[in-house]
Symmetry: C2
Subunit: 256 residues, 2 copies
């Protein structure tokens, strides 16, 4: 008789271009990141394998350091060989950067210590064909100083009910550790937002609101009123998905 | 009776993302840059309008400063309004940056004084989902000094028969004014190639050959033998289309 195989758990660090996915999470009849990833798992394992992602990115949202964990009976495969096997079956807009062997109870969704999102604004009067799938083209003048002032109100542990869109039954209390607004070159602006976890569309609602303040539609201290309202309907805007990147996730065991 | 309209000639400076076009030139049943542009011209003029481009870019090749000229009976439209009208009918991967009113004999193909092409190499062991449509992912080590040495042999007026692919009945004598190979950041390399005009696939054949020299498959002075052979079959490689940009064209009247 052959040797019995042991169940092991792997965590894959994956990057993807969001344009041609209907978001992260499986949906019947739609091309999703999780669906495409689980098809590759099935090709390798010859049966259905469930997976768990660290963040449920929306349609069009990109990832550089998403994490997807799954159990496997391929205990003899090294991390490197599992990585190569997955990439052999994945399409060219979804790529496994690394695979880590993790503990059996490893949960990318619940054990992440920090998540970092990047949001790019292409702030130029003309659009750019190269940046268009990866940034929000915003042709009006933006006051970075006002946006930075407003962003300070968002730091720390708060009730972010105003910044949540759609169904999300979790507690609205979230902690934002850092928001940096960087002018990368004359027309490219990067929002770098760090927190432990975020509500649905929270990052895009934050960026959309900061942009309105950047155009002087609202004063920076209005941000405090938006937070206090605890009501999504007070918010002036949402930034589109294609400017957003799930950039990095930090766990005790590794970071992406 | 209404006033008679005068025929005028416009030159549009256009940028496009090459991914979803079967190259520049019209082909029956294919989505091409010229085909899509002429559809927009037809919407504006209510009849078929012929156009002339400065460079016939291949499938997948991008442009930042392509020029397309056409005759029009819309002599009352300003350059700005013609630009806005074209953009209103064009899809989001083809954009008119400017429109110039030009002389009736203006020919973007024959009157260009200089063409500048950019070619991007993403030189990293792992691919990048963001750069993948705009650069050639090349995961092996490249010696920039060897490539720069080899590039010097290409400068000036030469018979470039070895660097032409496919049907091109023009004289193989071309002039390359400048080749710069720049390390933009730790893993992004830019080839900037300036000439008056280029043979079919000439830039991609030059980059493909320089890359082989960069891996030490050939010595830099082998480039001279490739040129002297005047025979395409001696060349070791062609770079893929999706790393190439028709970046800029210089005319007496304007530059892109």
């Amino acid at each position: 008789m052959g040797e019995e195989s042991l169940m092991v758990r792997f965590a894959a660090v994956v990057s993807y271009k969001g344009k041609d996915f209907f978001g992260y999470q499986c949906q019947p009849g739609k091309r999703t990141v999780q669906g495409v990833f689980e098809e590759a798992l099935k090709m390798i394992h010859k049966n259905d394998i469930k997976s768990e992602g660290a963040g449920r990115t929306d349609t069009g949202v990109h990832a550089y350091g998403q994490v997807i964990a799954f159990n496997s009976d391929k205990d003899r495969l090294s991390e490197k060989i599992m990585k190569d096997a997955l990439n052999a079956y994945l399409p060219d807009d979804l790529y496994v950067r690394r695979v880590h062997l993790v503990k059996n109870n490893f949960s990318p969704r619940y054990l992440a210590k920090k998540r970092i999102y990047h949001y790019y604004i292409f702030n130029n009067d003309e659009p750019n064909m190269i940046f268009k799938d990866y940034s929000w083209w915003f042709p009006y003048s933006l006051d970075l100083v006002s946006m930075r002032k407003a962003s300070v109100y968002l730091l720390g542990e708060k009730d972010f009910s105003s910044f949540k869109t759609g169904k999300d039954d979790r507690s609205p209390i979230r902690t934002i550790q850092s928001i940096r607004i960087l002018s990368l070159r004359k027309n490219l602006i990067l929002f770098r937002i760090e927190g432990i976890s975020f509500l649905r569309r929270m990052v895009r609602n934050i960026v959309g609101t900061l942009i309105k303040i950047g155009t002087h539609a609202f004063e920076p201290d209005e941000m405090n009123n938006f937070i206090q309202a605890k009501n999504r309907s007070v918010l002036p805007g949402t930034a589109p998905g294609h400017g957003l990147f799930l950039y990095k996730i930090v766990f005790d065991e590794f970071e992406t």
